[in-house]
Structure formats: C-alpha cells, structure tokens
C-alpha cells in the first residue's frame, strides 16, 4: 500500500493515542498489513494495543453527501433545520427519540438520537462523534452517547441557502403505486383530481396549505402542498423533490417551495384504472378509496356476532374488555376475511351494514337466533355464503406491521361473464 494512503490513518491513530511516534506507528501498521489484515481493523488493533479506544478516534470532518451509512465517529459542521422529540414504545418501556434534519453545504439529511440530544432549529453546530447508518433506504445520522456539540462563535454556514440543497437521498422518479413511507426525495407526475385550501396551525401560527388528490395510471394519492399551487383540477403537474408522509400506512405526497413544480400541458394521463389495484400493489402502502377484486379465501377468528365494550367499543373476549374489564356487551356483526387475487392478499374487515346485507339478517334478529349459541353455526353460514367467491371491495386500505387491511365501504359479488374472454384467449393461442 502506498505511503500516502496510510498518512490519514496514521493521523487518526495518533489522534486517538497520546505521545506516539509517527514512524513507529507506520511500522506497526505495515506489519499488520503484511499479515493481510485490512486497514480499518489494523487501525483499531493498534489503537487498542496502546490502550486507546478505537471508537473515540474521529475519522475527520465529512460532508453529508459523502456518507454511505457505514461511517462511525466522524465530525460534521451542520445547521439544524428542525428537531422534535417523540416517545417510542420499546421492550423496556417508553423511551424518548429525538429526530430532525441537518444541513451542510452539500445536502440535507435526517438525524436521530436516543440520548435526548435536542438541537435548536436554525443554529449551526460542530458535532463530534457522529455515526451514520442506513435507515429505510436512506442514510441517517445517529447521535449516540459519545456525541459532543460545539456552537462556533462565528457561524461558518451563515450564508447557507438550504432551499437549493438536495434532500436526503437521490431524486427518484416513481409511479404513485410505488410510493411508500420514508421516501425522502421523489419526482412524481400526476393529474390533480381534487383540491381545497385549508388553514392549519403549524408552529403556533396559522398556515395556508392545499390539500388534494392526484392520480396517475397506477394509483390515486392524497397530497399536501405547503406553498402556492397556481394550478387547477384536471391539470397534469410534475413535482420534483416531493417527500412522503404517512397516515395509518397510507402514503401522502408532500411538497413545498423547495420542490420544482411544472405544468405539463401536452401530457394526458389515463387515470381510468387508477382506482382498481392489485393486492400486490397494496403490500407496502395503503390507499384511499380504491377497488380490489379478489377471491374471499378465508374467514378469520373474531367474525360473526360479537359484543363490544359500551365504553370503548372494543370487542369483548368472553364478556371482558381488555381495558374496562367485565362489561355488558353491545351486540354487533362483522366479518374478518382474507381477500386474495393471485398477485397478493389483504385482510378486510366487513362492517355491520355489509355483514347484515350478506346474511340477510340484522343485528337484533341475529341476537335472537344466535345470541345464546357459540356462534359456530353462524360462521358455518358465512363460510357457505362467502368462501371461494369473487368480490369487488371498495374502500380505504390501511397498512401496519401485520399487513394491509381494507375497510370496505361497499362490497359486491363479481359474477363477471367469462365465456368471451375464455374464447378470445383460445384464439390467441392458435400458435401453440
């Protein structure tokens, strides 16, 4: 290995140890390398050998754009662009997590800290002992217990204009169906199919935003524009630099004055099919007001006649609410099902009205008939009526750790005519 590439490493080792001779270190390092040990391990071994802590040896000041997610213990000079604390439930109880955005002259990245390192928005810091790690496909800066902060008297980033900086992650072009939570910097093209102005309270002051729906060939999604949007319903726009927020697993496109928004006058998008989705397109992201056609292949536990807690509406288990203990239950009907269309599957919870319709029986009648039974007979009825049949379900799909769940507002059996399609496929197969 040539001497030049060793020099910075030797400086690092020297920095981590006290009063070491540079020549001696070079000799040591070469020895390790001769045994085929890689540079990083050799560095750590030498630091340890002389009583140092390899992790406390900074690898120097880095630019945010150069981080790959594997760096430990480096310095950054950054401005905090925002920071908030939230409580996260972990195995050991609740723990505060600080998350926020940092900017330097090269880009904007997220940071997180379990150590409660709150930074002040707009202030510039020299941070020592930061580390980088991959998070949801992006690189995030982690501020651990060894991180220390300096506030320089003269702000080295005083003239920084964050507006033009790339956000974390490279700009990716995506179709709406491929958008999911955690994406930082996306380019989308969509037709505005609805929008309204709203005033909300942000940081204790009123702010005007535009709330709307956009659609492309693949899906329709809610969007929020935090700045002016001089376009109308029906216009096709391209947004470069949008970011994604998430509500109950349903992604929403967000953008503000930092995004580049263009009107595409000559582009027509066929949004006819944007409401009908395959189950596979809903595995990683929820959706608002969509249709799925699939076969009902399973009726799950907790279906049929249930009794709800009069206080919180939770379903009771043997007359007991998980929160409010024993209760006189309020009867209700629901069916929890699995819908599978061959590309993927999702859970769906059929509400009272839909269940009543499917059973041709309302809740009081059901209570009269099955109120005192173990409910198996009712499930048997549902099995006979529903299993193996094809349905079109329409409604919202929420997504959590256990998968995607549809809460259909309506459901209808799809007895589509098939003979014509069967014949036309046979015609196309003449060549086989």
């Amino acid at each position: 290995m040539d001497e030049d590439s060793l020099a910075p490493v030797i400086q690092e080792i020297k920095g981590a140890l006290q009063d070491m001779d540079e020549e001696k270190l070079r000799e040591e390092l070469n020895k390790y390398l001769m045994y085929g040990i890689n540079l990083r391990e050799a560095r750590n071994a030498i630091i340890r050998k002389y009583g140092g802590r390899p992790n406390t040896a900074s690898i120097g000041t880095l630019d945010l754009k150069d981080l790959t997610g594997a760096e430990n213990n480096f310095d950054v000079i950054v401005r905090c662009m925002g920071c908030s604390e939230r409580m996260l439930k972990t195995q050991n109880g609740e723990k505060p997590l600080v998350i926020g955005l940092l900017a330097d002259r090269t880009m904007i990245r997220r940071f997180s800290s379990w150590e409660g390192h709150m930074l002040e928005k707009g202030r510039t810091y020299v941070i020592h002992g930061a580390s980088a790690r991959p998070f949801r496909g992006e690189v995030e800066i982690s501020l651990g217990p060894y991180a220390t902060f300096e506030e320089p008297e003269e702000d080295p980033l005083a003239d920084l204009d964050v507006g033009g900086l790339p956000r974390y992650g490279p700009l990716v072009q995506v179709k709406l169906k491929d958008i999911h939570h955690g994406m930082g910097n996306v380019e989308v093209v969509g037709k505005i199919i609805g929008m309204e102005e709203k005033t909300i309270t942000a940081n204790d002051s009123p702010k005007r935003i535009i709330d709307g729906m956009m659609a492309d060939e693949t899906k329709r999604l809610r969007f929020t524009c935090w700045s002016e949007l001089p376009y109308n319903v029906g216009d096709v726009i391209r947004v470069k630099g949008a970011y994604v927020k998430d509500w109950r697993g349903i992604p929403q496109v967000n953008f503000d004055e930092r995004a580049e928004i263009d009107l595409l006058e000559d582009v027509e998008i066929d949004i006819e099919g944007s409401r009908r989705l395959n189950a596979e397109d809903l595995q990683f992201a929820g959706a608002t007001d969509v249709e799925v056609r699939g076969v009902l292949i399973e009726i799950r536990e907790g279906s049929g006649l249930i009794f709800r807690c009069p206080v919180c509406n939770r379903a009771l288990t043997s007359g007991t609410c998980a929160v409010h203990s024993e209760q006189e239950g309020v009867p209700d009907l629901r069916v929890k099902v699995v819908i599978d269309d061959g590309t993927g599957s999702l859970f769906a919870v059929l509400n009272t009205e839909i269940t009543e319709e499917l059973l041709c029986m309302d809740v009081p009648e059901c209570v009269r008939k099955y109120g005192t039974t173990d409910g198996r007979e009712l499930i048997e009825q549902l099995n006979k009526r529903l299993l193996g049949r094809t349905f079109v379900l329409r409604g919202n799909v929420i997504k959590d750790d256990f998968g995607s769940t549809m809460l259909p507002g309506s459901i209808s059996e799809d007895e589509f005519p098939y003979m014509d399609e069967v014949k036309s496929i046979l015609e196309t197969m003449e060549g086989y």
Binding site: E280, I297, E298, G342, L387, K423
Partner: protein, 288 residues
C-alpha cells in the same frame, strides 16, 4: 420485520405436479416453497376441481383423509389430518364426485432416490358451482400464460434480467418466475403447460356451464386409442420393480415415445379406473 401473508398461487395440477425443486426454510417459522417448472414459488395455493375420491386412513377418534381433486389438467393430492379441522369436517361429509375449491399449503416428500412429490395440506375446502370453477380456470390460465410468455422471452435473451423483461411488458411477478424457472430447471420445454391451458379453457367452452371434467366424465378421450394405452401398460410392466414403477420413469419413457404428460395422466387414470394398474403409494404405479 413481519413476513407478509403468502399469496394463494393459481396454478394447474400439471404445473404443480411437475415440480422438482423446493426452497426449504432453514430459519424457524420461515415458509417452504415448491418451485414449479414455470418458476412459481408456491407456499399457499388455490384451486378448484372435482373431488374424485377420499379415503379415511385414520381411526374414528383421529381421522386422516387422503383425497384427490382433479382439475382439467391433472390431479391434486390432498392430505388432511387433525390439524386441519375444517377440511376434515368437510371431507367426512362430502360425497365424491363434487365440485370443490381448495386453499392449502404445499406438502412435499422426497424419496431416497431423490424423486420429489408435491401434494397439498388443505386449509379449507368448500363446495363451488360451475361458474366459479370456470372463473378459476380463466384466472389460472391468465397467470399461467403470463409465466409462459415471460419464460419464452427469457429463453431468447442473452443476459436476461428483470429490467429487460419489464421493458418487454412483463409484470414483475412473471419476470421473477421466468428467471427462477431458468435458474432451477435450465432451458426446458413449456409446450406441456401451454397445452394444459388450452385443454382447461376448452373444457370450459365445451362444458358450457356443465361440470365436465376430462378425468371424470370421459376417462380417456377417444382419439387416444387402445394401442397407446397398451404401450403405456407395457412400459409400466417393463419398469416395474418389486413395488411398482416410478411415475417419473414412466413419464420419461413415454416422453421418449412422444406420449405427452397430459395424455399419460389420462391413460394412467383410465388404467386405474379399469383396475389394470394400482397405485400402492403416490408416485408408484404397479400393474395387476
């Protein structure tokens, strides 16, 4: 990360039964997959067909059902034990023949000589009507053709990749299958599966709303002829060891004499029906 629910794959019996590989989980609770010749990774599957017969191999307290469900292309073999209460309950009451739908998980068995068998552990069995079955055939044909077409394009490519397949308009799911088919089975013939799709769709057209099943109503199509049947029977006798002849070996021998898989299945079904041969265990055929 919570694993997503396994999709119930749509595929015909001939594709499922021709599988020779599986992706067995090493990690606990991870799913097993059967990899079909068209590259489908099957953990859960969904099919419809005629319940041909059922046998209770268990005892009164611990019933254990073995059943056969025939689609237009072949037979799915089902095994339901005490941990499949719903299928057990249905099978104990339902009299064959009956048109049923089945959702189930893969069940595999590899013999010492390496012969691989794939059968089904049902999760639920339910009665269906003819239009439902016909819609299943249509849907399954669509998915099968999608895999066939992607695989054919993969065979044309020097360096096949998902991107190239996407450019040709294949959905990602079909592209992934095609690449896996090539990886596991190499370059192989897909005509049998295209034929299966054709036969299945024809059955829908010819049945015209009636539950016509090739294996049920007409065990052997007239055009197959007695001499082919005699050939198959002699092949079985030739290959028979003490316990019978391996289905796979019979298939190979028949392929060499250009008797295709589906015809073979039909003939063997006919021979079984006529009592000329019997099946001591799955995959073994023995002449009387």
């Amino acid at each position: 990360m919570v694993r997503g629910r396994e999709t119930a794959q749509r595929l015909f019996a001939v594709e499922y039964n021709s599988s020779r590989f599986e992706d067995r989980a090493i990690e606990e609770n991870a799913p097993n997959y059967v990899i079909t010749p068209l590259g489908s990774h099957v953990n859960r599957l969904f099919f419809m067909g005629v319940l041909m017969n059922k046998t209770n191999t268990g005892t009164g307290d611990l019933p254990n059902f073995k059943a056969e469900v025939r689609d237009p292309t072949g037979t799915f073999y089902l095994y339901a034990g005490q941990y499949q209460p719903q299928p057990l309950a249905v099978l104990s009451h339902l009299e064959p023949p009956a048109l049923v739908g089945v959702v189930g998980k893969v069940r595999t068995f590899t013999k010492e000589d390496g012969t691989f068998y794939s059968s089904v552990k049902p999760e639920s069995i339910f009665k269906v009507d003819v239009p439902q079955r016909d819609r299943w055939v249509l849907e399954t044909s669509r998915f099968t053709l999608e895999r066939i077409k992607a695989y054919e394009d993969v065979l044309e490519m020097e360096e096949p990749s998902l991107e190239l397949l996407a450019e040709k308009g294949h959905p990602t799911r079909a592209g992934e299958c095609a690449l896996d088919a090539l990886r596991h089975y190499g370059r192989s013939e897909v005509k049998a599966y295209a034929d299966a799709v054709k036969i299945a769709l024809m059955a829908v057209v010819e049945g015209n709303g009636r539950p016509v099943e090739i294996g049920n109503a007409e065990p052997v199509k007239e055009d197959i002829g007695e001499d082919v049947k005699a050939t198959v029977l002699s092949i079985i006798k030739e290959l028979s060891g003490e316990r019978g002849a391996l289905y796979r070996d019979i298939m190979k021998e028949c392929e060499a004499r250009s008797i295709d898989k589906i015809t073979l299945e039909e003939i063997i079904q006919a021979l079984l029906d006529e009592g000329q041969v019997y099946e001591p265990t799955i995959g073994l055929i023995k002449s009387i």
